[in-house]
């Protein structure tokens, strides 16, 4: 504890030194609006730490000089994502492509049918059941076809059995094992509403916890905006990929909130709660830890995506992968920038007093 205090007091001394240097530099610079002192301060701190001309050093330099411009990139991404989702809602009425488990219908999986021609089967099956809204997909792992997945909008036993028997006839005896998932239309839509509500509540709870942790408005809001941006941008990309979201996909978005907030808490703690080194130094320390966290998760998720034989697991992994990539941008550019601006202003205010 004693040592920590000493580092704090050393920091205070540093600020005093800086204030003196600034006074010497003249009042014109110090009084040139709120944005200007921030850059001034950065110059100061840049001089203060003797940075080697390594890649890391250059990156830090780039960060110091251009972080506000980088913010435009992430804000732009968020706006584009929201626009895309807006268009999606305007054209289809839903902000995601609902899978059979969310809009009602049946998914039939023949898990062991590696040789059947999916396109031909799709044509045959559509010709046989013209009234159904049918789709045949591939069930695959490591790039190879394992079996087939049939999505249809019917839910009655007779209709489903008819489809199953039709497909069975086309398969050899050993490949006729199947699984069925049927979701009634009313349950599907009520489930969807329910989980959306749960997500909103989860988001609110999460926000409360974040506010309780940091007790300041801007840093807490930045964490929440970051989680929000992660989800919105992921939804936009998932829509572009044409992926149909199932119940498990919804769970993946919730998992995303958890993973997203992890790195943001790390970053905010380093920048706002700690005082050693410059803000950029602290950001980079946090980034080293945070990126490692994200990369381990991405590594595990990619393994799941490549090797999983389950459609459900693949969907969860896809959503997480996209979300984690956006999280890197949103945390280390957007959130970091917001916090840097915030902290610089705070320190300048301290100086002005």
């Amino acid at each position: 504890m004693v040592e920590y205090e000493s580092s704090k007091s050393r920091r205070r001394k540093e600020i005093k030194q800086m204030l003196q240097q600034q006074k010497q530099a003249g009042p014109a610079e110090a009084g040139a609006g709120t944005a200007a002192p921030a850059t001034t301060h950065n110059k100061e701190t840049g001089k203060h730490s003797h940075r080697p001309s390594t890649i890391l050093g250059k990156a830090k330099k780039f960060y110091e000089n251009h972080y506000k411009k980088m913010l435009i990139l992430t804000i732009g991404l968020l706006i584009i994502a929201m626009l895309l989702i807006g268009i999606k809602v305007a054209t289809t009425g839903d902000f995601i492509n609902k899978g059979t488990s969310l809009k009602g219908g049946t998914t039939i999986t023949f898990e062991n049918a590696p040789d059947i021609d999916i396109l031909k089967l799709m044509n045959d099956i559509k010709a046989e059941f013209p009234k159904q809204d049918l789709n045949v997909r591939e069930l695959s792992a490591t790039g190879a076809q394992l079996g087939i997945i049939i999505d249809t909008d019917v839910t009655s036993t007779e209709d489903i059995d008819a489809v199953i028997n039709f497909v069975k006839e086309k398969l050899p005896e050993s490949e006729r094992g199947y699984s069925i998932e049927t979701m009634g239309g009313s349950l599907g839509s009520s489930f969807f509403k329910q989980v959306l509500l749960a997500m909103v509540i989860a988001f609110c709870f999460m926000s409360i916890v974040v506010f309780m942790l940091f007790k300041t408005f801007v840093p807490s809001s930045a964490v929440i905006i970051c989680a929000f941006a992660d989800i919105v941008e992921t939804i936009a990309v998932v829509n572009l990929l044409g992926m149909k979201i199932s119940t498990a996909g919804i769970a993946a978005f919730l998992m995303l909130i958890g993973y997203s907030v992890d790195t943001d808490i790390l970053l905010t703690t380093h920048i706002v709660k700690r005082k050693e080194g410059t803000i950029v130094d602290r950001t980079f320390t946090a980034m080293k830890t945070g990126l490692l966290m994200t990369f381990t998760t991405i590594g595990a998720v990619t393994a799941g995506l490549i090797f999983s034989e389950s459609d459900v697991i693949r969907q969860i992994m896809t959503i997480l992968l996209i979300g984690l990539i956006f999280d890197i941008l949103n945390t280390w550019i957007q959130n970091a920038t917001i916090l840097m601006i915030y902290e610089n202003r705070k320190e300048n205010k301290a100086k002005d007093e």
Binding site: S179, G184, L187, I201, A248, G258, Y259, L292, G299
Partner: protein, 584 residues
């Protein structure tokens, strides 16, 4: 003090080791060959030989395991199937389990055709009669030859009847594989309107009863709900195919009460009221409980029901010619109010007899609408007998309410998972976990270049997995797709936390900023972040626990349990181990 000694005397490390041992004990891994009994069919030769149908809630390793059928040792389900095919009717089959040896008589299977012609047949009937033995009047069983008239039938022997066992490969641990991993059928039912909690417990009891009568004891019926307060019922049948369960749930659950083969009333329409409150149902206070000559206790229960007038009239017609039994088995004269008629009233659920009760004497020939139904329970102690009687009473009340279900129920979701897919899914999941662990370890290896940290991380991940599985085994939680997703989240967060703790520990010591913090402070700083992310994960999962008909409940609860175990047990232990191993 050596590092090893420090490690094993550290409280946090000891707590983790104890928890791990407890987890392994709960999982109870074992090596066993044979097939476990899933369920026993009603009236089958297996049931008659005394093999009990296990409850769905029994621990997987607690199930009876068949090791030998006849002279064939049984290792797998296909061994079993081969051993029970082609049995000779009437022969004796010896089945050895890990608990007992059973001698089954193989029943012949007939194809019976009923012909229009009538015939007179003489049947042997055992009746209780009063006889004078050694000067005292006693009730004894006597066999009478009675001639009855019935339709002629032709019975053709078509082989041996199935011995009535449903089996699966013996579980090697106490983890309950959910349907996604072992195959089976899951049906979600929704009542037509909002229901009260009383109604909902009646419905659950009813469904279980109904499914049990069908011989599907390995059935889980649970209530699920969502944030709007809608209630659902989730029925999970392991290993059963779709047709079986759908037929069960689509059926009305026909209940009939008959006296001497004529139906007097049916469930639902004919019964207007079944008393379930203490004032008109419970242990019969007039008779109470008593100890029998063999040392066992027995208790009587009673409750009243109301019949529709026409059903009451039917009962009057059916009972008016019956005789009254005046003496009990010991030959003593029964008190007036305990005398009963010589025919029983039998209850059938979907044509299977579920209970047989005595009819009080005063009901004879009377068209009463309010009648008392009584029965008994036995046990080795008085309390056990009371419990047995009350359980029987509840079951009977439930049966009588069957058909008059408070609300119509419809199927809203069904999942049928083929056992092959389930098995493949489990293997695939294990493969992915293994690859993911290797990937994570490699990334951390490259970053830290310290074997120690990578090893510690592996220990951390495996401990967390074991503890989560231990808790799952302990509370009987099913490991299904949702639970696996939860385990992945929890372990993923675990890795994140480990990275945070490691970086905080290794932090400092740069040129500009010498390591200024003590270990305690470093750990404290790391735990601020760790606890912060833990809290956000937990609060994000809580609403999911209550939402959407419980479909994501498993995901939410596993994540919360996993994250909590992590923060309480493995993270402190990790920090302690890191401190001991990395310090100086």
């Amino acid at each position: 003090m050596s590092k090893a000694k420090k490690l094993f005397t550290n409280t946090r490390v000891i707590i983790m080791i104890v928890c791990l041992l407890l987890a392994i004990a709960a999982i109870h891994p074992r090596f066993i060959d044979g097939v476990a009994v899933r369920s026993v069919t009603t009236n089958s030769s297996a049931l008659l030989a005394g093999i009990q149908s296990p409850k769905a809630t029994i621990a997987p390793t607690g199930r009876e395991v068949i090791t030998t059928v006849g002279t064939t040792p049984i290792k797998t389900v296909s061994d079993y199937n081969a051993a029970v095919s082609g049995l000779i009717p009437g022969s004796t089959l010896v089945i050895e389990t890990n608990k007992n040896t059973y001698r089954l008589t193989v029943k012949p299977k007939y194809q019976v055709t009923v012909l229009p012609e009538l015939e007179n047949v003489t049947v042997k009937e055992v009746r209780e009669v009063n006889a004078t033995i050694n000067g005292s009047i006693q009730l004894v069983n006597r066999t009478f030859n009675t001639t009855i008239e019935r339709n002629k039938t032709i019975a053709k022997l078509v082989g041996a009847e199935d011995i009535g066992l449903k089996v699966f490969d013996a579980p090697t641990n106490n983890l309950r594989k959910g349907l996604d991993l072992q195959g089976g059928t899951r049906v979600l039912l929704e009542p037509e309107r909002k229901i009260t909690s009383d109604e909902s417990s009646i419905i659950i009891e009813n469904m279980k009863q109904r499914l049990n009568v069908y011989g599907l004891s390995d059935v889980l019926v649970t209530e699920a709900s969502d944030l709007s307060g809608n209630k659902y019922f989730l029925v999970e049948v392991a290993g059963a195919n779709e047709e079986e369960v759908k037929e069960l749930l689509a059926k009305q659950g026909k209940f009939e009460a008959s006296i001497k083969d004529s139906v007097v009333f049916r469930g639902g329409g004919d019964i207007t009221y079944v008393c379930r409150t203490p004032d008109c149902s419970g242990i019969d206070s007039r008779v109470g409980c008593g100890q029998n000559t063999d040392g066992k206790w027995s208790c009587r229960f009673r409750f009243s029901i109301s019949l529709k007038p026409d059903a009451a009239q039917k009962q009057a017609d059916a009972t008016k010619d019956l005789a009254v039994i005046l003496y009990d088995k010991t030959g003593t004269l029964l008190p007036e109010e305990d005398q009963y008629l010589n025919e029983t009233i039998d209850f059938y659920l979907d044509n299977v007899k579920v209970d047989s009760l005595n009819i009080g004497k005063d009901l004879k020939g009377k068209a009463v609408t309010d009648i008392q139904i009584s029965g008994g329970g036995t046990g080795t102690t008085e309390q056990a007998a009371v419990n047995d009687a009350l359980t029987s009473m509840k079951r009977l009340q439930t049966i009588l309410i069957t058909g008059s279900l408070p609300v119509k129920i419809s199927i809203v979701k069904t999942d049928v998972i083929s056992p092959v897919l389930g098995k493949g899914f489990l293997q695939n999941t294990l493969l992915i976990c293994l690859i993911a662990v290797i990937v994570v370890a490699t990334i951390l290896g490259i970053r830290y270049r310290r074997m120690q940290i990578t090893l510690q991380l592996m220990v951390n991940m495996v401990s967390e997995l074991l503890m989560m599985l231990g808790v799952a085994a302990l509370i009987g939680w099913n490991i299904d797709l949702a639970a696996i997703a939860g385990i992945i989240v929890a372990i993923g967060t675990g890795v994140n936390d480990v990275v945070v703790i490691t970086d905080e520990i290794l932090a400092g010591g740069t040129k500009d900023e010498p390591a200024a913090l003590t270990w305690r402070e470093k750990i404290k700083r790391a735990f601020f972040i760790v606890v912060g992310s833990y809290l956000t994960i937990v609060v994000a999962m809580v609403p999911l626990y209550f939402a959407g008909a419980g479909l994501l409940k498993g995901f939410a609860i596993t994540t919360i349990i996993g994250a909590t175990l992590g923060i309480l047990i493995t993270r402190p232990a990790f920090a302690a181990i890191a401190e001991i191993l990395l310090k100086d």
